[in-house]
């Protein structure tokens, strides 16, 4: 029963996707739509296979930037959340900063970072991703740390546990589901931010650069193939972090 339900949840979206692609292909062929307007799925697929090597190279570069940004953003987000949870003052000081980070498009910082670290380095892109990841990581972790049951707090106090022990044995393990949810949200943001940051300059490698240069060279079908690469990269990041979250949930059996 469960396996059947599982295949059904996978099959349904796949079937819908195949149907949509078939319809798309049919419309492009039937109305002879020009590739610079909308290329056909088969055309994009062909370009994807032809440029697979380049797409992989670009995806590795963008993926690496996103991964480094995800790492930096996740670690700082968790650490700052632990500090903010311990020090109410810091928490209150951070509210406006986090609120502004949450509303401004963080890629807008890219040109500033390029100016700071030089346009030849990927540092700016990694930092843009890190700042984007920081926000959901910080907010989720803080929420998780505050989710303690009063009875657990009382127990730790009755044991005269130190602040470090309370964090390590109670608060952080309790916050794991929230942290992993933050990581899942952050993973997509990391890829998007690292990629869009490429539109603003920096070294000439990565998926974002490839998309803009292909489009500028009127290679629309190839540009779409790179977009497909970006979609796959984002899906990979999301899939891995979502799997991590699911694995952890099953292990905790909550």
């Amino acid at each position: 029963m469960k396996a059947l339900a599982g295949t059904r949840t996978v099959l349904a979206p796949v079937a819908l996707g195949v149907l949509a692609l078939a319809l798309w292909q049919a419309l492009v062929v039937a109305f002879e739509i020009k590739p610079f307007l909308v290329p056909s799925p088969l055309g994009i697929g062909g370009a994807f296979v032809d440029t697979a090597d380049h797409i992989l190279d670009a995806a590795v570069q963008t993926g690496l930037n996103a991964l480094i940004g995800l790492g930096i953003g996740a670690v700082t987000g968790i650490l700052v959340a632990i500090l903010a949870n311990a020090l109410r003052v810091l928490d209150r000081m951070l509210v406006p900063l986090v609120a502004s980070l949450a509303v401004i498009p963080i890629v807008a910082l890219a040109p500033i970072f390029y100016a700071m670290f030089g346009a030849a380095a990927n540092t700016g892109r990694q930092l843009v991703a890190a700042v984007a990841v920081f926000v959901p990581m910080y907010l989720n972790t803080l929420q998780g740390l505050r989710q303690v049951e009063p009875v657990h707090r009382d127990l730790m106090r009755s044991y005269a546990a130190t602040a470090e022990q309370v964090n390590r044995m109670l608060l952080l393990p309790g916050a794991v589901p929230y942290v992993l949810n933050g990581l899942k949200i952050g993973s997509s943001l990391a890829v998007i931010s690292a990629l869009i940051a490429e539109y603003f300059g920096g070294p000439a490698n990565g998926l974002g650069i490839a998309i803009t240069s292909s489009a500028a060279g009127s290679n629309y079908t190839v540009a779409w193939a790179y977009v497909l690469g970006a979609v796959l990269l984002g899906t990979l990041f999301y899939g891995v972090t979502a799997a991590l979250e699911g694995w952890s949930r099953r292990r905790r059996r909550t």
Binding site: E149, V151, H152, D154, L155, M156, R157, S158, Y159, A160, A161, Q165, M169, L170, P173, V176, R252, R253, T254
Partner: protein, 268 residues
């Protein structure tokens, strides 16, 4: 056991909760009570009469407004830091990501007992609560009664001379509850610990206690204390007339009546 000092000395304690906008709750008023080493004392009374508050003051989980509390001759804070008491609540409060064994070992881990020492102690306690086969299970695989047994084992981990229990059997069905009471009696005999036990159940209080402290609300005070002097606390006692006399005495006090009709029960 020969220690002449009381395990707990509560002298003229007041507790006032100050809410926002100046709202005040007078939770305890002029409460005095001594608990001897090894003595089992129950607190009973209507909801809101300050039973939990009194226990939390002894545990140094809340601060008193006036009066004095000593635990083994120390301040509650010092007693807490010295791990002089073990505590259990109505909610078992087990950490869901830890196994039964790791939950029992939590206080030992916090106080730097090495892995071997922890394992030896948790083995003993698992045996004691009859859950040796469940050592590696997680809390969500246990019944309510089993969880509560684990919570009690955890409270006993440091061999405290004082146990504080706030309705530990409150969420259990009647049969499990009586079973747990029997186990607690055996446990207390074995460990010789003094117990402050909060409950809503009159038979439970009477069955377990050397003394039942009956409290009244608004403000919370001690109304009267019923002393019980049973020779043995076993299944037969539950059918015994002296037990029913005790139950009647406590019930009369709770229902505002005097307990003078009860025989075999001493009222103070």
């Amino acid at each position: 056991m020969t220690d002449p000092r009381p395990a707990v000395r509560i002298a003229s304690v007041d507790k006032i909760f100050r809410g926002r906008k100046g709202a005040e709750v007078h939770a305890l008023s002029d409460v005095s009570l001594d608990v001897a080493p090894g003595e089992f004392v129950s607190l009973i009374g209507p909801s809101g009469c300050g039973k939990s508050t009194l226990m939390r003051l002894v545990a140094d989980l809340d601060q008193l407004t006036a009066g004095e509390i000593e635990v083994f001759g120390k301040t509650p804070e010092q007693a807490r830091k010295d791990q002089d008491y073990g505590i259990a609540f109505q909610q078992a409060g087990l950490l869901p990501w830890r196994t039964v064994r790791a939950n029992i070992e939590l206080p030992l881990e916090i106080h730097g007992v090495d892995a071997r020492g922890r394992a030896a102690r948790s083995d003993e306690l698992l045996e004691l609560i009859g859950l040796a086969d469940f050592a590696d299970h997680h809390p969500d695989q246990l019944s309510g009664g089993m969880k509560q047994r684990v919570a009690i084992a955890r409270a006993l981990a440091e061999r405290p001379r004082l146990l504080l229990m706030d309705e530990p059997f409150g969420a259990l069905d009647e049969i499990t509850r009586e079973h747990m009471q029997n186990e607690l009696v055996a446990l207390c005999k074995e460990t010789g610990a003094a117990v402050i036990f909060v409950t809503h159940s009159i038979p439970e209080a009477v069955f377990l206690s050397d003394r039942v402290v009956v409290m009244s609300p608004r403000p919370g005070r001690i109304k009267d204390i019923v002393t019980l002097d049973f020779s043995a606390r076993d299944e037969e006692l539950r059918e015994d007339s002296t037990f029913y006399d005790g139950v009647t005495a406590v019930r009369m006090l709770l229902h505002d009546g005097a307990a003078d009709g009860a025989r075999g029960v001493e009222n103070r």
